[in-house]
Symmetry: D3
């Protein structure tokens, strides 16, 4: 047998299906962390498979972003899935926090793919250590402001209550609250725009931007979008944002602030309908592009400057 | 064995998952009647499971309505499913009429969950006995103005023809007619707005409101919504209303008229995609809220006053 | 309006759709406890909806068992769903244990519908308090004999390891083990039959019966069945039991032993295919019938005699 | 433009995708009548689409039957769908009866694709007019021996009760009865074999054959098969027949009796899983082959002889 | 047996379920060609079943177009499916070209139902022979301007590159390009509007119309629509057109130009959700209506005049 | 920030989710090649996603084979997906042949995951170069013995015709042939057992083994199994093999012959039902175990000996 030809390989298994040149750990500016944690006792489950579905869809997405261009050239490394724990959301959030610490220490801009929303608490705690003036922008249908849910203070239904205890947060798309949350928010007002209130701004988002500090972590619970666009989520609330509203708002944040990490959570893939997965992949990529462009904004806080500098390509 | 602890029970099985305090028959202002009647020879079936899906979804919905507040406090009792009959839609509509008579006699504000649209005829006939000046607001994609369909004058495709024979009716969202219906409506004009015509009103809905009497029964065939928002219906016609258009129109009616009952019909749940079910549950709850608020409107007609008074909490 | 006719109601919402005569708490010999606990980080989730799917299917099942007759006449009460906890499987199992204590104290024969397998530990611990000579019959594809899984000793993957620490157990249908489980079982042999070994018995199940004590709790992880018959489960392992093998084995146990409770767990309903749900409902009903007939077997152990006597109708 | 080439057409739209040579009405020995009647208030609907799914699947089936050979050469004509009526199953069965009268008058061997089981009553009544000594072989999970169901004596749940009032019938695969049916059958025994009883015959089916007259109409409710093989049906009862049991039994009947028509009913196609549809298509084709071979059996009864003679190719 | 009544047949199997009067080949102005070609190595397949799904849905659509009226009266003939070839897209496009030649020679206005987009090349080549001044309007999410894809210059991903080599083309809805396509289009500008650019026109579509010649072939890749409205396609890109934008643009083209044929491609039906199929059927019918009305526009080019004249009814 | 802890990673993305120790290329005895080629114009598509589904399922499978033990310890390396070509099955099979040449040259035992059956031709041609006395064992429902299909001699429907032109082949499970295939096989007999004939052997498989040479390539078209066990395939033919029949036959071959490579093809994953995927993963792993054990059988032919020796761990 003569010297055999090397096979023609298809795309590698990683976010966006990038060749080693653009996805090796050392040379990548961005790190994508899949966290298929799905300890959800509410309504529909399935976010266990959210990161898998985003990765699968992302490999069939054009890596040329039609609005932002060749985002991939900054390098996007996909990490293995973070192992889950059965000990409850408190422990899981700690594990996420450690993984974010590790990513920040490596000089990466972190992106987390969920998974249920409870994991965001760990991500924000880690970001806050690095960026002490951090604020959080939440896109979501639900306030997630309960004090406790199913015996846990760290349930997905409580995550923004916990986050607001440690740093400021602004919320867009909120259209579902429990009575207790409504009463709490009446007593403790927070910057929050329902879809209707957001649309009443007619694109003048200065109030939202002003409510945020210079260093912003974005947590995008995909049910902030209308279920028409993203039916694949656990509690699909009618009356949500559309693709352009959500991606343009993020673009506006990126134009003025520095995005220091983000997550895209609560994708629960539907059987036989990949539209939600594909949107989530495109949104993640769009957000990576905006995050990268935003790095030149704002004064550095804490130790971010050097890491960002050394991590940049 | 020592005295055992009482178990921690989850939500009860009823609309909105309400505790007995807010769902017992006697103390409830509203009665929800599930009618899973699905004698449909057209296209996709499945409305048999519509009421079940709405109830299931409603238990995972926040009972705090983000626009109307604590609607549940008026009391919402969920009745058992009405047994169906195999003798055809004429007999089934009579059974529905009797059930509405029974609900009205008990002083309840009736809500029917369908099921195919043919059942509305019975509901309206009953309401008309109680409210002689009744008019009907139909949200729908289809005119339902055939004189007969598959040999029956009481098919879902004829229901508004039958209703218009006994009381005035106005229709919004209509974008699908047969040639016979189009010709009939040309000869016998009825107040009817397609989605395009509705949008041309730019929110000035006076003409719609003026076409209705003070006592209004609303029949919401969910295919009046665009299939983007509600794909789970038997004949999903493109070009329909969105969540805000439909719920705001109902709110506008409630602000000026008295809503004396309503139905939400033609939900045909999709396998593995609950977005339609959830929207239908939220819409039903929103409509209950509007109906309750509307009770203070208009002069009482017929025997409604005393019943409403005694039934209120 | 004349005195209205009472509506013709459909079947009530409970296991088998039984009228009050056969489903009221006080007069029922059997209590069915739905436990939609689904804290599963492995493969496919969805057991959250298992109890709901079994109840839904059971209402369309004939209550005349073609092999056992009018089982329902003993009375079968369906309890509300047990509320879940987000604090991990250890806490959840305790909650199940308390609920079983409460059912036993009320003189009921307990039936639990799962939900993931971890909940069985609590059920068995409660049964063991009442029946000190209890043994457990496990039908399952997996040994569930890990010492710990995802940091928890009470994960579904460990449940039979925990149970075997407190009482004897025999297992049928096992065809999937981890290497650690295989090594542990080599060192600590347990009565265990793979499908192949079970079939090699050619219906002579004396060895299985002999391995059990007089008072038997049956835990039926539905993946013990072949996925051909029950595809709706989280980890569908090929090579399992069929309907007759499983139900006949349970009948054989009932003929010789006293069944003092059982569970049917790990149903993860498939979208758009109810065959698994329906089988699970029929199997639950068959097992109730066998359990009831088995009550006349065996010497009473502990305090069971009086409770069984008083609870019987 | 020069004279254009005729396009290369794919298979025509008819049962088995047969060219005109083997599917034209006049030259075909067999006529296939699709009846998508689905007036079902029980459990899962969807038989409306059964005939469509069988036709679709049949076009992808090899027309060479691996056990019976070139069945298609006798000619198989596919009729349009019979229009349904909304007036209830009594009227629909009459419409089916007329269609069978019409097919028999045209000298065709009739095959009906359902649709719910109620339609069989009309088919049998027509066959009985032509073959006065007719008997019926039912393959089914359910006895269908209720006297009335949902107010109708002609519901699918009553169809064999009605048929047994006019001609003898034998049943195989029955494993689900209501208590009333069980009592009725105790008082009025009928030849009936459950799956278990059928298997106990170990292939000696003389008793079944002896219970039938020479002219046999077969009604195959597909839920007679185990849901493992055919999950796509409205009430999938565990413990049913397999492919070989059912097709071999029909072969045995064909070897001794004359099959004078048959139906295949209660296919309710599953979303995204065509295995049931494909089996139903193969079974229909296998039964056509057996029916054709059986034509040489038995003495002619009534006017069948001449029609069969002239209709044969 | 007396003279049997003719059965009451349901709708025939063809586009829109038209009776022979409006669907016979000779008398029909329009011919619909189903081409279920699905040689797709990208992401989700399934366009093989697109034409079947459109035909199935179209039979349940009202043939009275609520905006255009009795379109069917011009006659719409449905051809058999074009047989596919396994030799690759180059050969398949040639087969499509021949079929279009044959339809044009028969004086029909051709409509093709796909199937993947590669088949459009053949349709356009044929139309160009008949209408030498042809231009193409593409509605699509993707530019389809690659020079080669998976070794083939005739892949679906290259089809507009090939078409632009032979005639002008304008594109609307484009929001996904590869980097190579972006660079090529920078060097070789083409009239192309993304959804965002299209909306920026605020309904003034003069620039789009001016970019087209008088004779227009429309190729509608359904993924040009937003996945909210049409999730059933292989690569559902967020941010697309809605029903009114797409159908109104086509209406605007029809008002000024002569539409000489069109295709509707890339429908990949979803399991258990017919909304996409139904929209595709309605869109096809709407486009037929517009095409028919447009026939009175523009000067005839080439040999079209006489054919159109003789083919008209 | 102190030195961060390394995150706890989940299983890697490869067949069986093996750590580097057991999956690195150099140290692995077995190489798994995913080939998601799906150029299928027949019935249901979807084999494009077969390899992906097998890999996904395999990560949730126990790597301890309950019958063969610690198979993974030989090392199993998962290659990237082979890129597909749009030039037709002839070109694709050549690409597969080159990839097998490359795997054999690297001393690996090759395993291919399909994808449609046409790819097997390339695998067998490569194996034949290495093992000149090769024979092929086909498990399949279809003969695949057409001479040409859809213009191509290398279609999936022709693959065994092509293979039998170059080496002997035996077939088990065959129950679907075209008339042409039946006639060809009558004229050119081949060792072939239908399911019925296979079962008639009652486990005495000597005739099958005798029909094979010492070096065997196994091609397992999963539709050889009954659709009850594996519904997720393009043409699910009733009457197939079960799990034990298929895996035991392969075990019997492994006990006597040397298995020099194999493929598992035609998995077309179902939406929302992973049972087929999981079975395919378990079967692949079982076959790897048997292949490894079989390496000690038979005399070496050609250059295999040294490669096998050096490749073994």
């Amino acid at each position: 047998m003569s010297n055999p030809t090397n096979p023609t390989w298809g795309l590698p298994w990683n976010f966006a299906g990038l060749d080693a040149e653009y996805s090796a750990f050392d040379s990548s500016r961005v790190a994508v962390l899949p966290v298929g944690y799905d300890f959800s006792t509410s309504y529909q489950g399935g976010t266990r498979w959210g990161p898998h579905a985003i990765l699968t869809a992302s490999r069939n997405m054009e890596v040329w972003d039609d609005e932002l261009g060749a985002t991939y050239q900054a390098g996007i490394h996909t990490l293995p899935e973070l192992e889950t724990t059965a000990l409850g959301p408190t422990d899981m959030a700690k594990r996420v926090e450690e993984a974010f610490d590790w990513m920040y220490a490596a000089g990466k801009l972190p992106v987390m793919l969920g998974g249920e929303h409870s994991i965001t608490a760990g991500a924000v705690r880690s970001a806050l250590k690095k960026y002490p003036k951090l604020s959080v922008l939440q896109l979501d249908a639900h306030a997630d402001m309960r004090d406790s849910y199913l015996d846990s203070p760290d349930s997905h239904a409580c995550v923004m209550r916990r986050i607001r205890e440690v740093c400021p947060a602004s919320s867009v798309g909120i259209r579902s609250l429990s009575e207790e949350e409504a009463q709490y928010l009446k007593a403790h007002p927070a910057p929050m725009w329902s879809t209707r209130q957001f649309r009443a701004l007619k694109g003048d988002w200065k109030a939202i931007l002003d409510s945020l500090s210079d260093d912003v972590f974005i947590t995008f619970d995909l049910d902030g979008l209308d279920p028409a666009y993203l039916p694949g989520t656990g509690t699909p609330e009618p009356g949500g944002l559309d693709w352009y509203e959500a991606s343009d708002l993020i673009g506006a944040v990126a134009a003025k602030k520095r995005i220091v990490g983000f997550d895209v959570v609560e994708l629960a893939p539907l059987p036989g309908n990949v539209a939600s997965d594909f949107l989530a992949a495109r949104m993640t990529y769009r957000m990576i592009g905006h995050m990268l462009k935003s790095q030149s904004n704002g004064a550095a806080s804490g130790s971010a400057k050097s890491a960002a500098a050394t991590g940049a390509r």
